[in-house]
């Protein structure tokens, strides 16, 4: 609760800075503030509590994920400085929106009432719509914003309909109450339908097949930093929320529902990976890669009672790798019109460190050992096999193999092609964020227990 309040306070503070014309100080202050909030969040980790008539449930799950979100936001905010160099007048708006987005995210993982859930997801979505179309003069950005907005609102409608049906069945929005009631035998069919509709709406948010079509287009069109945010923070938030929703409201998942999850998971992995193979735009490629990762993350729903640690681990590994990758992409494509793979030619020669970081993050996403991504997949497979979904694991493995194909396409471009142009200087902040993110990722790999046992 305190975390949420502090985040909102920070957001408003940020807006105030604009008024007092202290733009230069915004980013440092926000980063420091977020670090402080991270500390606050950690302090809440061991004090599970509920606030305001069960509106917010703060516990290990919520503070664990909130911590991850805050860390990701710190990275994203740090990157903002350079990215919005030419939009100095708007920087406070950008930062404030991001912080409110974080607030929405935190609300989503700590909701105790569907109202909080719905408002959280809307804050997140609206912030994203804005950010996606924030490059106002670019037609692509506009298109991305509109596509995301239209489809996102559509999905919101579905979610809302689902919530309504749940309310119709239960007469309450409180998840604990719903969870208790859901154990009683006599339930109107509205409840499962409601759950399914909310589920589908969330599948849209995490971009799972067949609700994934928006992701590549939006990722490609949005400004790169927004893409970074979407593919890391937003995706992670959506998955965590979906997990929490399914976990808190529907203790035992029926076999039919499991089958749906399995099919969606398989479809996401396969479609995501196969489609990524022939992409030229790196952001678009990472969008498809994100779709496939969504499929992987959905696997946690199959052993829902004990996979929260795994999910946190997977999302952390994925998001950190994503941050590292995107900081390199931001660096490389700063002066370019697009993010095509040709821009990466010869990066291994021009800037070996950045190339190495991008390689490492791609390897992590591909699930090569020592990087966090490998352990994430391992734990995931472990639990899926424990829940006796071996076929799913085999398909997941085949998909991992396919994914190597396109991750390596990028690596190959960096190391085997001749550079197109001379070296461009790297802003320190990109270096710093990329290095810290990838170091954290490797640290995750070396000490998996640290995160895994949090939840």
């Amino acid at each position: 609760m305190n975390t949420l309040i502090a985040i909102i306070g920070l957001g408003i503070l940020c807006l105030l800075f604009e008024i007092f014309d202290a733009r230069k100080a915004i980013i440092p202050i926000v980063v420091i503030g977020l670090l402080a909030i991270l500390g606050l969040d950690i302090s809440e980790y061991n004090n599970p509590n509920t606030y305001y008539n069960n509106m917010l449930i703060v516990g290990k799950f919520s503070s664990g994920f909130s911590g991850l979100f805050i860390i990701l936001t710190i990275f994203l905010v740090s990157l903002s400085h350079k990215f919005y160099e030419n939009h100095q007048t708007k920087i406070s708006d950008f930062i404030a929106i991001k912080i409110f987005l974080l607030a929405g995210a935190v609300a989503m993982v700590s909701f105790g009432n569907l109202a909080m859930f719905f408002l959280g997801i809307e804050v997140l979505s609206i912030a994203l719509y804005v950010l996606a179309s924030s490059n106002r003069l670019s037609i692509k950005s506009n298109e991305a914003g509109l596509k995301y907005f239209l489809m996102g609102s559509f999905a919101s409608g579905i979610i809302l309909f689902g919530i309504c049906l749940i309310y119709g069945a239960m007469g309450s929005f409180d998840v604990t109450e719903i969870s208790e009631l859901s154990r009683s035998a006599e339930l109107p069919i509205w409840f499962p339908i409601g759950i399914v509709l909310v589920f589908i709406g969330m599948l849209f948010k995490i971009a799972a097949v067949p609700f994934h079509f928006w992701a590549p287009d939006v990722y490609e069109g949005s400004p790169a930093l927004t893409t970074a945010l979407m593919s890391t923070l937003a995706k992670v938030v959506a998955v965590a929320t979906l997990y929490k929703l399914v976990k808190t409201m529907n203790a035992d998942i029926s076999p039919a529902f499991q089958l749906i999850i399995v099919i969606v998971s398989i479809a996401s992995m396969t479609v995501g990976n196969i489609m990524a193979l022939r992409q030229v735009n790196v952001k678009r490629m990472l969008a498809f890669s994100g779709i496939s990762h969504a499929g992987f993350m959905l696997m946690t729903l199959l052993s829902i009672s004990k996979s929260s640690g795994t999910l946190l681990y997977y999302t952390s590994a994925y998001a950190l790798a994503g941050i590292a990758a995107f900081s390199v992409i931001l660096y490389v494509c700063k002066t370019k019109e697009n993010e095509d793979i040709t821009n990466f030619h010869g990066l291994g020669k021009n800037n070996p460190l950045m190339a190495a970081i991008l390689t490492a993050s791609l390897l992590s996403m591909a699930g090569i050992p020592v990087f966090g991504g490998f352990f994430a997949k391992l734990f995931l497979f472990n639990q899926a096999i424990q829940a006796e979904f071996i076929a799913l694991v085999i398909i997941a493995v085949i998909n991992s193999i396919i994914s190597v194909g396109y991750y390596f396409k990028l690596i190959l471009a960096m190391y085997t092609k001749e550079p197109n142009e001379t070296k461009i200087p790297t802003p320190t902040v990109y270096y710093a964020v990329a290095v810290i993110a990838i170091v954290l990722n490797i640290a995750l790999g070396l000490f998996p227990s640290f995160v895994l046992d949090l939840l």
Binding site: K147, V196, L197, I200, P210, F211, F213, V271, I274, M275
Partner: protein
């Protein structure tokens, strides 16, 4: 003491090899030749020492060095067994070896790589000694492969000529086919009586009462295949004539006197195994007889002096196998020894002629060298008489015993062997007449340079000719020293000297008569009628088939080499690529899927939402309507 001596005996040539490899070039040609020769002479001297020892106490000397290969149920040691057989073999290996080394000092003097030649020869002697004195089959195998290697190196000694290299390769590979058989034999023996050691094996066989005869027969057959490879028997004989590409001393040493007899040595060594497998023995006898006849017929029309001798070697080896097949090991050994003498002498003699003619090997370009090369001619004549089985030369005794044994066992084989003997006499004297008699048919240049070879060459010739003449004395029909000497080796009482009756004398007469007939025909044809073999193109009819060695090489080439190559090309061009494209194909298919899939991503919001709705409907339908 024995150990050290035996080690010295073994290692002396090896040290010679090392010395010549590392310092041979520096110390000069003659010096390296002398070093090489001396080391072998040293071995010979030590062999004599052991020979005298074993003659006194009759006890085989066993030496264990160290554990070599460990197998689950037995282990193989480096060890030596110096018994009658091995010492006998050592005697003529090192003896003839010394002579040929001596010969080579002069013969190879013009070659820039003479030190290497001696190094290889020394290495050969080393491996041959290893082969002979090894105490078990695996040490024998070291020598067995080692001599094959040296044979390879020496055949391809003039490595700039790819044809010679081909011959060398062919020899090595054909030998290896045999080696595989030998290995299989070793495996069978090793697993049946968990040992490879000769002595242990012998006691194991003797003490065992329920032997798996079929497996033993298989082992014997496999070992025989090995012997076929090394001793150039059908079907693995074709390498030997080609091996004549090497320098002549090599042909004399390796491809006539020593290495090719390794098969006979091995079979004799394991006589107790072969005695248990009579069917295999029959096969050996038949193969031996057929080989001797086939090789003899080919030799009839060859024009290359060394090729004739090579086929003659194959033919003689066939006779030895014939004897082995009848279990007459000591007779085979006897023929090995006499053959070593006269064939080495013949080769060296031919080498002397070739040397005089600056490398000319075609008999059609020779003739009449008798006049200038007296010593060579006489030694050659004596050896030819020996090989033709004319009494009292050594060949008469050994060959006669073989024929006699054959007659007693199988008339048909006797007929074949006799025919082969007759032909032997013919082609040897054809060779003699064409080379030494009549007028010289070579170029003027060659004629002007004709000369008798130097003493270093003629001395070994003389020694060998003497041995070829009197060598029969070691096993006279009336009282055989050799049989007595070798008796401890054989389990059953060695074939007693045949009771000499009318049959025996008749047979002897027939054999001698055959020899004389052969010589006479040759005389009529090449002296009286003064024929000279036709040029290659003019050879027709059956002679052409013979001249082309029954086209065996071509057949082998077509069946094995060509097909392997075709297969290889097929594998390389089709199987490899298709396997590869199978793997790539998976990638291609996925890529194609990706390409097609991209079309789905139309960019149209309507379509995206349409799929969204479809997805929603199907999930809801599945969950709530289909249940």
């Amino acid at each position: 003491m024995n150990t050290n001596l035996a080690l010295l005996l073994l290692l002396a040539p090896f040290l010679g090899f090392l010395f010549n490899i590392f310092f041979g070039k520096k110390i000069g040609k003659t010096a390296s030749g002398v070093v090489g020769t001396l080391t072998v002479v040293l071995s010979f001297a030590l062999t004599l020492c052991f020979f005298s020892k074993i003659n006194i106490d009759q006890q085989p000397i066993q030496i264990q060095l160290f554990n070599w290969i460990q197998i689950s149920n037995f282990r193989v040691d480096f060890g030596f067994l110096l018994d009658q057989l091995s010492i006998l073999w050592l005697l003529f290996v090192t003896g003839i070896g010394s002579l040929i080394h001596l010969y080579s000092i002069s013969y190879m003097h013009d070659d820039e790589n003479m030190h290497k030649f001696f190094a290889y020869l020394n290495l050969f002697i080393f491996f041959m000694i290893t082969l002979v004195i090894g105490s078990n089959l695996l040490v024998l195998f070291i020598g067995w492969e080692g001599v094959g290697l040296c044979s390879y190196l020496l055949i391809g000694f003039w490595h700039k000529n790819q044809e010679y290299n081909d011959a060398a390769k062919k020899a090595f590979i054909m030998n290896r086919i045999g080696d595989l058989g030998l290995l299989i034999g070793i495996f069978i023996i090793g697993s049946l009586f968990p040992t490879l050691d000769y002595t242990t094996l012998k006691t194991a066989i003797a003490s065992s009462n329920n032997l798996d005869i079929s497996m033993i027969s298989l082992a014997a057959f496999a070992l025989f295949i090995g012997a076929c490879g090394k001793s150039a028997q059908i079907p693995l004989y074709t390498w030997l004539p080609d091996a004549m590409a090497g320098p002549t001393p090599v042909s004399a040493l390796i491809h006539a006197a020593t290495m090719v007899t390794a098969g006979i040595f091995m079979i004799t060594r394991l006589n107790y195994v072969f005695d248990l497998a009579p069917e295999v023995q029959n096969i050996i006898a038949i193969i031996g007889a057929v080989t001797s006849l086939v090789a003899a017929t080919i030799a009839l029309v060859q024009t290359d002096i060394k090729k004739v001798l090579a086929y003659s070697t194959v033919s003689q080896l066939g006779l030895m196998f014939l004897a082995l097949g009848f279990g007459a090991y000591e007779i085979a050994v006897f023929h090995v020894i006499t053959h070593a003498f006269f064939k080495a002498c013949l080769f060296l003699g031919s080498g002397s002629v070739i040397h005089a003619l600056h490398g000319e090997q075609d008999m059609r370009r020779m003739g009449g060298v008798k006049k200038v090369m007296g010593i060579t001619f006489i030694t050659f004549l004596l050896s030819s008489l020996a090989i033709s089985g004319i009494p009292p030369f050594s060949g008469f005794f050994s060959k006669d015993e073989i024929l006699m044994t054959a007659f007693h066992n199988n008339i048909a084989l006797w007929v074949i062997a006799s025919l082969a003997s007759l032909m032997t006499a013919f082609y040897m004297f054809r060779l003699l007449y064409l080379t030494f008699f009549k007028e010289f048919r070579g170029t003027e240049h060659q004629k002007s340079h004709l000369h008798e070879s130097p003493a270093l060459i003629t001395f070994p010739l003389i020694v060998l000719a003497i041995l070829a003449t009197i060598g029969g004395a070691i096993s006279l029909p009336t009282g055989s020293w050799l049989n007595g000497y070798l008796a401890p080796l054989f389990s059953k009482e060695a074939h007693e000297a045949h009771h000499f009756g009318t049959t025996e004398y008749t047979l002897m007469a027939v054999a001698v008569l055959g020899g004389i007939i052969g010589i006479t025909i040759a005389f009529v044809k090449y002296i009286k009628q003064n024929q000279v073999p036709a040029e290659d193109a003019e050879i027709t009819g059956f002679a052409k088939v013979l001249y082309n060695k029954y086209y065996v090489d071509e057949i082998y080439d077509a069946i094995f080499v060509k097909s392997t190559n075709v297969l290889s090309r097929f594998f390389r061009d089709y199987v490899e690529t298709s396997l590869s494209s199978l793997v790539f194909g998976l990638g291609k298919v996925t890529n194609e899927l990706s390409y097609q899939g991209k079309k789905l991503q139309t960019g149209s919001i309507g379509f995206y939402l349409f799929v969204f709705v479809l997805g929603l409907c199907s999930i809801v339908t599945y969950l709530f309507l289909a249940q």
